[in-house]
């Protein structure tokens, strides 16, 4: 059965809530008149429940199967974390309550900050950023603030490797920097010599992902850090891949100055179909003074909140209120559940799982670089050469086998990339099932059955969707049929 839009289920006057009668008082709206109509549809509660239940059934999710999206860390989302975030002491607290009434909330933020600093070896942390890209913005702002504080205004450039997440150049550009790309070496790492050649007094810093988006650890990272520092720049690390090393390697020990952490990747707060995320940023001593407000301090009467930048080096707000508190609770719940021993094991298993998938596939697919890989493994489309089957086709065919596709066509440094991140919460049986399916598809592709791939997926609520048509004449909202007809007639 097809599920219509809520707007197509409308009946006038129907509602899914019951409210008390409105007290009879003279309205006091001032200059503005009450609006005549919003135009929302009326549904009863049973219809609403069924609508969203049915829609949910059209989604693939971690709960329903393996989700090997590279660079996304789609690991298990424990329900304990959801339960903790819903404790009224966390969920039903207003951000502007007197601080005397929210000491537990501030303690939680302080604890989370302690864990993040300890795990990264860093000196300071801000919890404010709402997502990874927001964290990047925060980090680059701090770099700019630091240069400004030193009166160093000639640094207009940020270096970014070719393999970077798209957010890296976008962030640097948004903050008014020009972006200079650094090429990769044949073994999938940053070309240290090329980097050194670009370093100079015009470089504000380097944005690097480590482990990088090829799933490899940047072997020269300490030398890279030294070179950047020597040139007077700062070293920003994109922490999206922190899951590979969390609890085993402290980014501070690699010479990193600033790094964001995706709580929704490494620390398992749910992705939720696209958010909300949470992107705390950790800072080495070098950048520690340059953080946004608000932040928590230990005052004489317990915890206190610094809510204004004042005359210090801290800078202003990045969002309303104090950060993604709901995500902080979930992340700390995850951290406490794992502990030091559990995180050690988790990153180890994440890396082992990725290497296992790589090892089991390398004879039928083409691994882009030699291992060991870290938490994800990268293939390119050389194995499909001459078959007429594309990376996209492989991915869509995988859907019919019951799996979510891996990340496709990223990173850009290899052709037709297939980036697979199993995470530590998949069992060996699940990996074997996935590998077997992929092997069978690779064989099938080589056998010349192009038609099969081009028609995939077959078993989904929808088959391949026309994305070009969607972008050419965008339909971004429902329009009442009469209006829609009138528009069409125009």
């Amino acid at each position: 059965i097809e599920e219509p839009l809520i707007f197509e289920q409308d009946s006038a006057g129907r509602t899914g809530v019951d409210l008390p009668d409105v007290p009879k008082v003279a309205s006091r709206l001032g200059a503005v008149k009450p609006r005549a109509k919003v135009g929302l549809p009326g549904l009863a509660e049973p219809q609403v429940v069924r609508h969203y239940t049915r829609l949910s059934q059209k989604n693939y999710a971690i709960d329903s199967g393996f989700y090997p999206l590279g660079s996304c860390t789609m690991k298990h989302n424990p329900r304990l974390n959801e339960k903790m975030a819903r404790l009224p002491g966390f969920s039903d607290v207003h951000p502007m309550q007197p601080v005397s009434t929210v000491q537990g909330a501030l303690e939680l933020m302080d604890q989370l900050a302690y864990w993040l600093k300890t795990l990264t070896g860093m000196a300071a942390v801000t919890l404010a950023p709402a997502a990874g890209a927001h964290g990047e913005m925060c980090g680059i702002m701090a770099i700019r603030a630091a240069h400004e504080a030193k009166g160093d205004s000639g640094r207009t450039k940020i270096l970014v490797p070719e393999s970077a997440h798209g957010t890296n150049p976008a962030t640097a550009a948004a903050c008014g920097y020009s972006v200079d790309a650094i090429p990769a070496t044949a073994d999938g790492r940053v070309d240290l010599e090329a980097l050194k050649a670009k370093l100079g007094p015009d470089v504000a810093g380097l944005m690097l992902t480590n482990p990088n988006t090829c799933g490899l650890f940047e072997r020269d990272i300490v030398a890279i850090a030294e070179a950047v520092h020597e040139a007077g720049g700062y070293f920003y690390c994109d922490g999206a891949n922190f899951n590979a090393i969390v609890g085993r390697v402290r980014p501070a020990d690699l010479g990193i100055d600033v790094m964001h952490i995706n709580l929704h990747k490494t620390f398992s707060t749910p992705h939720g179909g696209g958010g909300p995320g949470s992107g705390p940023v950790v800072f080495a001593e070098s950048l520690a003074p340059y953080i946004p407000v608000p932040y928590v301090t230990h005052g004489k009467d317990g915890f206190a909140l610094v809510e204004t930048a004042g005359d210090g080096l801290a800078f202003g707000r990045m969002k309303a209120f104090h950060g993604q508190m709901g995500m902080f609770v979930r992340a700390l719940s995850y951290m406490l559940s794992h502990g030091a021993d559990g995180l050690w094991q988790a990153s180890g298993d994440a890396v082992l799982n990725a290497n296992y998938v790589m090892a089991r596939l390398e004879d039928v697919m083409t691994a882009s670089f030699e291992g060991p890989c870290m938490h994800e493994c990268l293939f390119d489309d050389r194995f499909l050469k001459g078959t007429g089957v594309t990376t996209l086709d492989m991915a869509k065919a995988l859907i019919d086998e019951g799996f979510h596709p891996m990340t496709m066509y990223f990173p850009l440094v290899v052709h037709g990339a297939l980036l697979i991140e199993p995470t530590e919460t998949e069992s060996k049986a699940s990996l074997d099932q996935f590998v077997d399916a992929l092997r069978a598809l690779a064989e099938r592709a080589k056998s010349g059955d192009v038609a099969y791939f081009q028609a995939a997926p077959r078993l989904t609520p929808r088959r391949r969707l026309d994305e070009t048509a969607a972008a050419r004449k965008p339909v971004l909202r429902w329009t009442p049929p009469v209006v829609a007809e009138a528009l069409a007639a125009e």
Partner: protein, 451 residues
């Protein structure tokens, strides 16, 4: 470890398959000096559920939940009643544990939700189109300004003194680092600012709020026309989305962009986040809009379906040329918003908005009757400003000791010198969750504290 399915036997056989002697061996590319020898120091080992619940439960117990006492806090975050259905549906694993819907064939659920969400936001704001959500209202406001800069190719934004100071801060932070001018007017607790006078040919936009941070309801119709005549855009901010159920929407006033906070629908207070930013524009600006967009299309069999679209604006395609660096939205919060709005429907949202307003009127009258208290607002929706005979921050602390959360002191929003002359002002919000008994208790306690 309950979350880790590999057994020791699995690990051994897998190590053989990868031809490694140990898991540590797989980390050989990490400089030896940076490799920890074993679990990191300074942190406890793993805990069971029961222990985690105890520890976090004890922290939660050191807060005063707003719902446990009469509570009148607003200032950009509102305590509304969220039907049980909302949270039940949001927690379905198929929504909760899905990624961004980049693979539309297996994400039609999330995509249809976003399409419906965009439509709801467009209807509520009275605008042509909306995106699939932003981080929160404040970042939505800042992105609106940057979008106005792109559209007008100008670089100066005028921020009304009625704009929520957090929204102003976020915008000025961006202005500092991203490089544009943001002229912020002083707080205007009684209004009276002449925004139009500041608009010149460098001005990209004027940012106003409705109701403004002091609760005043404004009609910006004339301002919109005047701005547009000068080549600037009018951005209208809304921090209490429920007000859109009762007030003339910004779209009807001629706003070019609406940036709003959607927390009031479906989302708990959560000590300030996660919330859900709403972002709606006129049709002609669609391709300049930041953030994710869901669009309608057809599949290979010709059936209606939904996809993320216009991604050429976005960072994952455009990299340094993207409209913004944003790559998440507030998916789950948007879902909660959308379910709540679906439950309310036309009839429910109207009645809920009326109920909020009527209760606020009642509360204003009760407070005005307290000796020494003055209500500053003529018009308001569910929040208004009162002037006390004493500094509001101290009064609020006294009320908290009596287990009443009696509003937000204006000095909390304008720290330090900025608060000058406003120390005695208190923002009071009233919603459907406040009973008559709550309101009487507040008025009585305030009388007591002020006596």
């Amino acid at each position: 470890m309950r979350y880790l399915p590999l057994t020791e036997a699995d690990r051994q056989s897998m190590l053989e398959a990868v031809r490694a002697t140990s898991v540590e061996d797989l980390f050989r590319d990490v400089p030896k000096s940076a490799r920890l020898a074993g679990p990191i120091g300074g942190l406890p080992n793993h805990m069971g559920e029961l222990e985690v619940e105890r520890l976090l439960g004890s922290m939660a117990a050191r807060n005063m939940p707003a719902g446990s006492v009469p509570s009148f806090l607003g200032a950009g975050a509102y305590r509304h009643h969220v039907p049980a259905t909302v949270d039940h549906l949001v927690q379905r694993g198929e929504f909760l544990t899905a990624y961004t819907p980049y693979q539309p064939e297996v994400s039609q659920g999330t995509l249809q939700v976003l399409f419906e969400f965009q439509t709801q936001v467009a209807l509520l704001t009275g605008m042509d189109v909306a995106n699939a959500s932003m981080y929160d209202g404040a970042t939505s406001c800042a992105e609106a300004v940057m979008m106005a800069n792109r559209v007008t190719r100008r670089k100066k934004a005028i921020l009304s003194g009625g704009l929520h100071p957090h929204y102003r801060d976020v915008t000025t932070t961006d202005a500092r680092f991203i490089g544009f001018e943001a002229v912020a007017l002083p707080a205007a607790p009684t209004g009276g600012e002449d925004l139009l006078a500041l608009v010149d040919d460098k001005t990209s936009c004027v940012v106003v709020q409705n109701p403004d941070v002091f609760g005043h309801v404004r009609d910006y119709t004339d301002l919109a026309a005047a701005c547009q005549a000068k080549g600037a855009l009018l951005i209208v901010v809304v921090t209490e989305a429920l007000s859109l159920g009762l007030l003339t929407p910004p779209g009807d006033m001629g706003a070019d962009i609406v940036a709003a906070e959607g927390q009031s629908f479906g989302n708990a207070l959560n000590f300030g986040g996660p919330y859900v930013g709403l972002f709606a524009v006129k049709d002609k600006y669609v391709r300049q809009m930041p953030g994710r967009l869901c669009g309608e299309t057809v599949d290979a069999d010709g059936r209606r379906g939904f996809v993320l679209t216009l991604s050429t604006r976005e960072q994952h395609i455009r990299r340094e040329k993207a409209t913004s660096n944003i790559c998440t939205n507030s998916g789950l919060c948007a879902l909660a918003f959308s379910i709540h709005v679906s439950l309310l429907g036309e009839a429910g949202i109207t009645q809920l908005a009326q109920l909020n307003h009527a209760k606020a009127v009642q509360m204003a009258d009760k407070l005005a009757a307290v000796p020494g208290v003055e209500v500053l607002n003529d018009g308001f929706f569910n929040e208004f400003t009162v002037k006390l005979p004493k500094p509001a921050a101290a009064v609020v602390e006294e009320l908290a000791k009596r287990r009443i959360l009696g509003g937000v002191p204006v000095s909390r929003l304008y720290p330090g010198e900025m608060a000058q002359g406003m120390e005695n002002l208190l923002l009071v919000a009233v919603t459907e969750t406040n009973t008559d008994a709550d309101m009487d208790a507040f008025a009585a306690a305030l009388s007591e504290v002020l006596a």
